[in-house]
């Protein structure tokens, strides 16, 4: 029996009915939906030991109304892969971007960052920095574009990618002590679903970290000239108005955003380079604007 059939069987065991539908997602993850139940086989890289506290955190009362709770707080094992079971939610419509819930996403991130770590199981470090480093490592070619992206990466504080998990209360950085708070670790519009209200999904990178990384992907899009400044202002404004703690006091949000937004720019550029190479095509205009942003980063 293949993995997808096994996942469909688990969905049935948790009450999912109807024909299984395999959801398109990252190549290292398999998601099968049957009616109201979604079963996810995590990346072979994600170890059950790291996933377990993340899943229990999502199941905890402290995250009610912020993250989608799983149908079971246990991590299952199928063919050596960690598997989790979820209620189905309605994702953001990709063809209705004008109505995308940027403010709701920002408010949920602000609420997530405000959850005290003391009420949660001991969590690993949030996965954002490791994800950026992996994206850069996946570039195997050594052309001028790859070298530029690597140079932009090398200009980042490398202790982010090699250091120990951040201690709560934080290390002292250039912009004052960095907060070590509950952080999603991989936020984008695909990480929102609606079940009566909007909720965050995906616990794979949930952990203790610098919450500015959760704002860094939209920040990188904005800095690359891709995200409409008005949308960025709405997103950032909703985060700050909800009391989001990631950006510290003061009137310059970029003091805290600069490093994570540079890291996400590098990550997005690296992913674009790898995708284009895999499809034997040139970078398109959108992807090229990320390379241009890397070029500006190494020149500042």
């Amino acid at each position: 029996m293949g993995l997808e059939e096994e996942l469909a069987g688990i969905a049935g065991a948790y009450g999912g009915t109807g024909a299984p539908v395999v959801h398109p997602t990252r190549t290292d993850v398999v998601v099968v939906r049957r009616g109201e139940v979604v079963v996810k086989a995590h990346s072979a890289r994600d170890h059950a030991e790291a996933l377990r506290p993340r899943l229990r955190a999502a199941a905890s009362a402290a995250l009610t109304g912020v993250m989608l709770p799983p149908l079971t707080p246990e991590v299952l094992q199928v063919a050596g892969r960690a598997v989790t079971v979820w209620p189905a939610g309605r994702p953001v419509a990709q063809d209705e971007l004008d109505d995308a819930p940027w403010e709701e996403g920002a408010r949920l991130l602000a609420a997530l960052h405000a959850v005290p770590l003391t009420g949660l199981p001991g969590l690993p470090a949030a996965g954002g920095p490791a994800r950026a480093a992996r994206a850069v490592r996946r570039m195997t070619a050594d052309g001028p574009v790859e070298r530029l992206v690597r140079r932009a990466f090398d200009g980042l504080p490398q202790e982010l990618f090699h250091g120990p998990a951040p201690e709560p209360f934080g290390a002292v950085g250039e912009a004052g002590p960095l907060p070590a708070l509950l952080t999603h670790g991989d936020w984008h519009l695909g990480q929102l679903v609606r079940r009566g209200r909007w909720l965050l999904i995906d616990v794979d990178d949930l952990g203790v970290g610098d919450p500015a990384w959760d704002l860094a992907r939209p920040a990188a899009w904005y800095a690359a000239g891709l995200l409409d400044p008005a949308v960025w202002e709405r997103f950032l404004g909703a985060y700050l108005a909800s009391g989001g703690p990631a950006l510290g006091r003061g009137d310059d949000p970029w003091r805290r955003l600069d490093v994570p937004a540079r890291a996400l720019t590098v990550q997005l550029a690296a992913v674009a380079v790898v995708n284009a190479a895999g499809e034997s095509r040139e970078l398109d205009e959108v992807e090229h604007s990320l390379i241009e942003a890397c070029n500006r980063i190494v020149r500042v």
Binding site: V92, G225, A293
Partner: protein
């Protein structure tokens, strides 16, 4: 030219295209025909000018927003939509 008020010596200055005679002695200022109107017009233009836009909030390495540099006209582009929704 002599100051019409105190008979002191008047010196000619040019300020923003307007000739001004100023008395070295009493500091009085003499305007030629039309120069008061010119100054009044300049003053009203100064007050009517919109305040300069605040500098774009963003990092030093950010794209110059607006003008022909902005890329955010690509809302429907497949890679942009894909990027909004994926890791």
């Amino acid at each position: 030219m002599q100051c019409p008020k105190c008979r002191g010596n008047m010196r000619t200055y040019e300020r923003n295209g307007v000739h001004i005679e100023q008395c070295d002695n009493c500091r009085g200022i003499f305007l030629d025909y039309g120069e008061l109107e010119t100054l009044t017009q300049m003053e009203s233009r100064f007050h009517a000018a919109p305040p300069p836009p605040p500098p774009a909030a963003g990092p030093a390495w950010g794209a110059p927003h607006g003008g022909h540099y902005g890329h955010h006209g690509h809302h429907g582009q497949r890679s942009w939509v894909g990027m909004l929704f994926s890791t």
